[in-house]
Symmetry: C2
């Protein structure tokens, strides 16, 4: 499988991502920052405080806290809502990041029980939420990454939000890819975040920063989040390498989300026109989708490697075996826009030939 990654990375261009994650990403972000700019210091100073306020405003929340990671930010959000409602149960999708990627941190570090809502292969419904027992908080992820980036209609979100407010259930948004969703919803971040009590956003998904996250919500929530951030060891003396790059790439890419979304739809359409290849969702609602090839990874990989070497176009760096097919994730960014049409056409033509 390593050869698949190598041929993907060494291809002249890739359909996915923003290009290589190398030190140049940081150096570029720092280029226009003067050496004399003072470091943030344990959450204070002119690098972090105005940045946090900026994202409070972007999300229409009272306050916001910068975190080194979303893992830390979201566990803390759920703990605070659990304490505030005096209820030890929270609910989320079966493929929620907290359930499958965090070594059970939430449950190992907090006295919190979780309920998985709905089925793994689709987004949860309002009816399923209504059937839940009494919970402190419901976490919704927009888009639902692990199933290819799927999201409910905005009206469904509004209905879920109304229901949670009636029942005094806190609604938390895993908005790791929130900005990537705005073109589909044709809404501002404030309009979407306004349906939630707290919101997390990530700076290294569609925005392509180095690492880091914002957790936004009411003032007292954020005040408590800062205490938990210190408890977790996330209140570093200096977080500026992440903050400066987050701000740089946010400004660079926030207005490109519409283009990434259009590109993703066009790409998915081209893939779905090929025999033995399909995407989920069939029509993307963000910059991402999952790409599936009939057959097992052991058979598909050598074919893809050959195509990537021959055409110089990188389609996939890894494949995961599913039941009768294998899959990879496509997340459209700047790399796709840099490709010329002939390279893309030639790549898709080879795909058609090889997978027919």
């Amino acid at each position: 499988m390593n050869r698949l990654r190598t041929t993907f990375q060494q291809a002249t261009g890739q359909i996915s991502g923003h290009g290589k994650r190398n030190i140049g990403v940081l150096k570029t972000a720092l280029e226009d920052v003067t050496d004399e700019t003072a470091s943030d210091q344990y959450g204070t100073g002119s690098i972090i405080q105005p940045f946090e306020q900026k994202f409070a405003d972007v999300l229409g929340m009272e306050d916001a806290v910068f975190f080194p990671s979303g893992t830390m930010a979201q566990q803390i959000a759920l703990r605070i809502w659990s304490d505030e409602t005096d209820n030890r149960t929270v609910a989320y999708h079966p493929l929620c990041h907290l359930e499958i990627h965090e070594q059970d941190g939430l449950k190992e570090l907090h006295p919190i029980k979780t309920i998985l809502v709905g089925e793994a292969d689709r987004v949860m419904t309002l009816d399923e939420i209504k059937a839940l027992p009494d919970i402190a908080c419901l976490l919704l992820e927009l888009p639902q990454r692990e199933i290819g980036g799927v999201a409910p209609a905005f009206s469904e979100l509004e209905a879920i939000s109304r229901y949670c407010r009636e029942r005094d259930i806190r609604l938390h948004l895993d908005g790791a890819r929130l900005f990537e969703m705005l073109p589909y919803y044709e809404k501002t971040a404030v309009e979407i975040a306004g349906l939630f009590d707290s919101v997390y956003i990530s700076f290294y998904k569609g925005l392509g920063g180095i690492a880091g996250a914002i957790l936004a919500g009411p003032a007292t929530f954020c005040q408590t989040a800062r205490i938990w951030k210190r408890r977790y060891g996330g209140d570093l003396i200096s977080l500026y390498p992440y903050i400066l790059s987050a701000d740089y790439y946010y400004e660079l890419r926030k207005d490109r989300m519409g283009q990434y979304y259009e590109d993703a739809k066009q790409l998915a359409e081209r893939f779905n026109a090929l025999p033995g290849i399909h995407t989920t969702p069939k029509v993307p609602v963000s910059n991402m989708f999952h790409l599936h090839f009939s057959g097992q990874a052991a058979d598909v990989s050598p074919k893809l490697e050959k195509i990537q070497e021959e055409t110089g176009l990188g389609f996939a760096g890894y494949l995961v075996d599913k039941d009768g097919y294998c899959s990879t994730e496509i997340s459209v960014g700047d790399a796709y826009a840099q490709l010329d049409a002939q390279t893309v056409d030639a790549g898709f033509e080879r795909l058609r030939q090889v997978f027919s």
Copy 2:
């Protein structure tokens, strides 16, 4: 009190520190790293893995894990030893970092009870350790920072280590300033770390990096520490801004610790020769000591501000009121070596005049 900080920072030179903590610190560390160098990725890659092995070797341990913070690293160390010994009690000094600077993270995040050993104003003794009930782990800090940087004799450390091994008590070293202690002990890091089961070191104290820590110990301990690092949200996709700078400043300053130590002893001697001023310890055992002025901060601050403005020599950026005197921390680094003798002489002469 803010004027005290301003006059300290704006002075031509400072007796303490390595100079300003600004973005230049990072830019300098990255200068010779090429843009094409690939980022670490969730704990893997050529930036992080050889770095961790290097510090495993520096400390004579089987393995080492890079952490964004010492807070995270040490809580995790105590949790692992607690699990391994099936004992929920750990012990440390009353002014341990975990007890006074972490918003009770250890106790809020883990089912761990703590015992405070000895008195706040001195290091703990072997007799006090022998009087403890059954514990999982004892944490020792070298030097004990909150009392000015004090440390037991090496023979006392050896005796503590022997006792803990006999009793199956895990011994963890808070070595935030371990390298700063080597000249006094006239020992290598391996010789000191060898008395302990696990060791934490910091990269932004005497080494002057940006942030980050190493936790070193047996292979299985480190393997478990990586799982907890993910649970805490410390397993960032990219930690390279901290790692590259940690490595740069470690290489730059590791051989200067002897000079910092000599400078600290000389400085303390000059302070102790002045009326109304004294240091703890009287003779430093590392690059640090606490500096005390008779009287309250409200009276001492304006005097110091005036001296710092007049002489261009920064002595203190803050003062904390104690009983009948007020105090600041001196941590000798590169800044002191950059001062010329006349500036230092003039500064001390003004101190004598003003505080007599």
